[in-house]
Each structure stands twice: as C-alpha cells, then as structure tokens.
C-alpha cells in the first residue's frame, strides 16, 4: 500500500512549494527575459528628481506611530492566542473557564482603555 500521508502538514508543504516555484520562476527566471537598455535615470529612486529626504537605506526617520501600532498588535495577538484554545475546548470547559476568560479579556480591556485615553490609537 502506498505510503499513507503521515503528517497532515506535508501536503501544505507541497502546495507551498508549488507557490514558491511559480513565484521564484517568474521573478528570477522571467525577470531576465526582458530587454536591458542601461540608462542612469532609470536607476535613480522614484522621487520626481529630488533627493529622497529621509535616506531610507541608512535607516531614515520613520514616524514613531508605526512602532506603537506594532506593539499594540503584539498585545492583541497574544490575547487572541489565548482565546483560540479556549474557544476550541469550550465544550468541555465549565463555567469556571468562562468566568476566567471574561476576567482575562477585561484585564486586556483595561490596558486598551488606558492606551485609548492616552492617545495611542489616534493617527494625526
């Protein structure tokens, strides 16, 4: 009998390999098919001629708002990491786990309210 699929994640790998093969072939392989006419203007960054202000490659000045959003994302992502197993196993968990999860969500909500009031969520 042929090898039965041992782990459920192997086909995902095969499917992902198809995707990567297709993407890599077109980006690297077909990328060289096009014509090659050198022209210095082409290689200048797209800035309508002016020098790009924050030199992005030397770590240009990035507004701090993106850092705050990244941190808030981490906090709420962690919250959903705990909500998923709770939701899946909800049938066998009793009222105790329900109350515990409500307290957990309320604690994170306190942090959320604090960030909201201190203006962490406002975009200028």
């Amino acid at each position: 009998m042929a090898v039965v699929v041992s782990s459920p994640y192997l086909p995902i790998l095969i499917f992902f390999a198809c995707g990567i093969a297709f993407a890599a072939l077109s980006v690297l392989g077909l990328g060289v098919v096009g014509p090659k006419k050198y022209n210095s203007a082409k290689f200048v960054a797209y800035e309508c001629g002016i020098q790009p202000s924050p030199r992005a490659d030397q770590g240009g000045r990035v507004p701090v708002k993106f850092y705050t959003v990244a941190m808030l994302f981490i906090i709420f992502d962690i919250e959903s990491v705990f909500l998923f197993p709770f939701a899946v196993a909800f049938d066998s968990l009793g009222l105790f786990a329900l109350v515990e999860m409500v307290l957990f969500v309320l604690t994170v909500f306190v942090a959320y309210v604090y960030v909201w009031r201190r203006g962490g969520l406002d975009w200028d």
């Binding site: 981490i74 906090i75 962690i78």
Partner: protein
C-alpha cells in the same frame, strides 16, 4: 533518532544566543540574541514534554512566548528612547556609568 538530539540542538541554539548577546554591540541585535535564547528554551521544553508524555512543557512554551512578547514591548521602548536621545543604539556608547 532519540529525542535527546533536539535537546542538544536547543543547547546549541542557546549557546549561539548567549554568544550574540556577549559579542554584538548593537542593542537590537543583543535583544535578538535574547529572543533566540528564549526560543531555544521553548524547543527544550517541548522536547522534554514529548519525552515525559505530558503536556506541561507545551503549556510552558505558550507562557514563554507571551513573556517574550511582553519583553519585546518593554525592551524596544527602552532601546528606542536610548536611540532617540543618543542617535546610536550601540551598547558600547552607553558608558557614562563607569566603575
């Protein structure tokens, strides 16, 4: 293919992380080294959970991930304030407090 090989891999990763922390100068790279060490410990926990047949190790791995995330938030905030007030995140420059 005994499971101890995973533990040896975890030890090697832990050593690499510790070396990164001790050798590198940029605070963010040092911080990445610490994260690598925490992930190595995660691997060790999950391997021991598998060897003992209990699920405690995986619960601990979940907690370690949460703690690592909280550490990222606090750590990057401190490294950012240092970077903004000194224009450099290098750990060597932080030498005002001396023996």
């Amino acid at each position: 293919m005994s499971l101890m090989n995973y533990v040896y891999l975890a030890i090697v990763l832990f050593a690499i992380g510790a070396a990164t922390v001790l050798v590198r100068r940029n605070a963010i790279i040092v911080f990445m080294g610490i994260e690598l060490m925490l992930n190595a410990v995660n691997l060790a926990f999950v391997t021991f959970a598998r060897m003992n047949g209990s699920l405690d190790g995986q619960a601990v791995a979940l907690f370690v991930m949460v703690v690592a995330a909280a550490e990222v938030v606090v750590g990057l905030a401190i490294i950012m304030t240092i970077h903004r007030s000194r224009r450099s995140a290098s750990v060597d420059d932080a030498n005002l407090l001396k023996l």
